[in-house]
Amino acid sequence: MAIDMKIERQILRRTETSDEEIVVNFGPQHPSTHGVINFVTQTTGEIIRRSVPEVGYLHRGLEKIGEMVTYPGYMPFTDRIDYVAAMFANEGYALAVERLLGIEAPPRAQYLRAIAGELCRISSHFIAVGTMATDIGAATPLTHGLRERESVNDLIEELCGARLTFNYHRIGGVSFDAPAGWSDKVLRFLDHLDSYIQEWDRLISFNQIYVDRLANVGVITREQAVDYGLVGPNLRGSGVQWDIRRDLSYGAYPDFAFDIPVGTGRFGTVGDCWDRYYVRVQEMLESSKIIRQALAKLPEGEIMAKVARKPKPDAGEAVGRVESARGEMLYYVVSDGSEKAYRLRVRTGSFLAMGIIEELSRGIMVADLIAIIASLDIVAPEIDR
């Protein structure tokens, strides 16, 4: 079995080879890497010695593009940073530039942002839990999840005209008000969702094979999760109650009452793959709660603040952080007073999750590596941008 010495040297940072080990490339094209990532894996048969993620296959220079187009013109590019949950990428960028300009979106716009964001979280989490089930070997939950996601996408399409790359947010508000009769459709979907999640749990969440495959696998302790800077459901799965929506609240979120699900170690240890999975399932129900409250309290009024067509913020810097479906998404924008950003930086949840894989991969089995990758809910374009 030929071993590619170049990969050995470059990725595994290793010069000696061993006859007992083989180096396997999980990727860049592999059914369960969720995009083009390569996990260079050093194994002795089924047991993995070490697995090092090699990222960068999907780098499109989106941060550099931010320096080349105007502030409003960058909004469609944010969709491409995380196309599974584009609403949050829009929102984080809008928040950052609004802070730079010293304006705030009107209350109705903020509520609409919350509703659209939570709908998007539901659709993103359905992908996450569905692909996780597929990676564990059950094909049916994914298509059921995709079916539910399509219902959400129908609603969002009606709201903003696109199913995937929404470009719904604008600096200082949102692009469209809710169409007539839309909130009834959303409520009908939420009623369906609340009853559907029960079925989902019975179909896959509590399936004994599924639980056995995930419980006590890839345990991330509280300390490890904080040390490696994990965010979002990956952090909460380890039992840390940290949610930007509550702890660094933004937009309309202070007005809503919602719980923050955390991992409990129900079938194994706190912070195992099953906990991270189930945090996502529960978050869908919390999102449903938030949307119900937001629709009930939706204020009247404008949906856009007064913003120049080509805003020129004063020189300075601003940060927008939102709780995306994959955890905290942070935009850092530096302005030099022109109509284009001087520097734009995006910090995303999936990239942070890549750091811990090498640590978790020591001594696990090949199938566990797949479970861990799936449980971290990685979206490749978000890693590389």
Binding site: S32, E46, G137, A139, Y196, R213, V366, A367, I370
Partner: protein, 460 residues
């Protein structure tokens, strides 16, 4: 807005809808029926004595004393093999279509529905496509073994057909060590898996091959012990003997005649799932882990053989379970004396005998298809187990369980009188019916539990 290309099968079947339906009917019923009739006509004749007698009576030719007799015998054997091979291919193809349609429905999809009526001919299209594809062999592969591996699997698939009884008279040969022979011969598939995994010279294939070897070797043990339970109950290793020891009605089946056999049935089915590499034990190919496992490097006709073996193996698995536990081909209400009476004493049996034979084949086919449906259903419900869990399930649960069933059956056979066995048969049948009814109610309730869902059989 309709895009039509001239050679599109959709437009073909639209232009000639009757042709499509006729083709489908022929492929779905005509072809299998033809094979069954051919099997019924040929299989019982396949003994030298009967061939000799026929030649004597009809042709006036002394075959037994002829120097060419072995050529005739071999020709007959080849005819039998031809029927069996074709039957496997047809079953393998049809079951892929069934699997895809069932999976589609279970996943809220439609599944293939374009070529032929209800998309039935899609398996023919798939097969044609695969045969036309280039047969690529990796440069670094071990060419000879790479080419040979599919045939090992194929042999492992076809050998059990020798003793698998399709009907009262429709069996190639009723070996007196039938069960033992099946257990031994079906393991040949793993040789193909292991060889293909090694010869591909690909890391994924090697993983798959090694996993497959470990899995099939381990599960031979619980499967073997569980298969001993009906052998003990029938007192013979012959497949026909085991079926004859059972009856047509459910309470006369071995599975319900003894609680240990009831458990052994589930152990045997689980173990044969593992031996056939079906989900939840599809570790050798494990799409999300090993890409395609042992057949990752195969393409074209060789891949088609692997896939056919995979699907047609379901027939062996299900057929074996039906034979050993579910009464095989026994028709309710007809006993051994009916077959003997209708057969008569002449060289050719009465037409009624052929009717009864077809009925018994139908019983076997229906039961086997029901079990195949269960396998498909399991596949589209369950996740995959991990390698170590697969091993622990085998050694910690199935092997002790099967052994316990074996011991209990021994005691049961010694101590329980026939009246007790009959009572157990009724009781366990009633219990099974009760569980099935409960399951049906639970299934119906699932639909009303989800807001916005209702029973709707449309959109095929």
């Amino acid at each position: 807005m309709r895009i039509t290309l001239g050679l599109d099968s959709t437009s073909l079947s639209r232009r000639y809808p009757r042709l499509a339906i006729l083709a489908t009917l022929f492929m779905a019923f005509g072809l299998p029926l033809g094979l069954y009739v051919a099997a019924l006509a040929v299989f019982p004749l396949n003994t030298p004595e009967r061939l000799d007698a026929m030649a004597e009576q009809w042709l006036g030719y002394d075959l037994a004393g002829s120097p060419y007799r072995y050529i005739v015998y071999t020709a007959f054997l080849l005819l039998v093999a031809f029927i069996a091979v074709n039957y496997t291919a047809v079953f393998g193809g049809v079951s892929t279509w069934v699997e895809r349609r069932v999976a589609g429905r279970m996943q809220s999809r439609i599944g293939p529905n374009r070529p032929g009526a209800a998309g039935f001919l899609s398996w023919v299209a798939d097969a044609v496509k695969m045969i036309l594809k280039e047969d690529t062999i990796p440069a670094e592969a071990d060419h000879l073994l790479f080419r040979a591996a599919p045939y090992f699997s194929m042999v492992g698939l076809l050998l059990p057909f020798v003793v698998l009884p399709f009907g009262e008279a429709t069996v190639v040969t009723d070996m007196n060590v039938g069960v033992f022979y099946v257990a031994a011969a079906s393991a040949f598939v793993v040789v193909g898996i292991l060889v293909s995994g090694w010869a591909s010279n690909s890391k994924w294939a090697l993983f798959g091959g090694i996993r497959g070897a470990a899995q099939v070797m381990s599960y031979e043990i619980p499967a073997g012990i569980a298969m001993m339970v009906p052998v003990l109950m029938a007192g013979t290793l012959s497949m026909q003997g085991i079926v004859r020891a059972q009856g047509g009605w459910p309470w006369q089946w071995f599975v319900f005649q003894n609680p240990a056999a009831f458990v052994a049935f589930f152990i045997a089915v689980t173990a044969s799932l593992a031996e056939g590499n079906r989900t939840p034990f599809d570790l050798p190919e494990a799409e999300s882990e090993l890409v395609a496992g042992y057949h990752a490097e195969y393409s074209g006709f060789r891949l088609a053989i692997f896939l056919m073996v995979e699907w047609a193996n379901m027939w062996i698995m299900a057929g074996l379970a039906v034979t050993l536990f579910l009464g095989g081909w026994q028709v309710p209400g007809y006993g051994a004396e009916d077959y003997a009476r209708l057969l008569g004493t002449g060289l050719l049996p009465a037409p009624g005998w052929f009717g009864l034979q077809l009925l018994s084949m139908l019983m076997f086919v229906v039961k086997t298809w029901a079990l195949v449906f269960v396998f498909i259903w399991l596949r589209w419900t369950l996740p995959r187990v991990r390698v170590d869990q697969m091993m622990s399930l085998c050694w910690k649960y199935l092997v002790p369980g099967a052994f316990l069933c074996f011991v209990v059956t021994l005691v049961w056979q010694l101590l329980v009188p026939p009246a007790g066995v009959a009572f157990t048969g009724y009781a366990l049948t009633a219990l099974a019916l009760f569980v099935l009814a409960k399951f049906a109610v639970a299934t119906r309730r699932n639909i009303s539990k989800v807001a916005g869902h209702r029973v709707d059989l449309g959109n095929w």
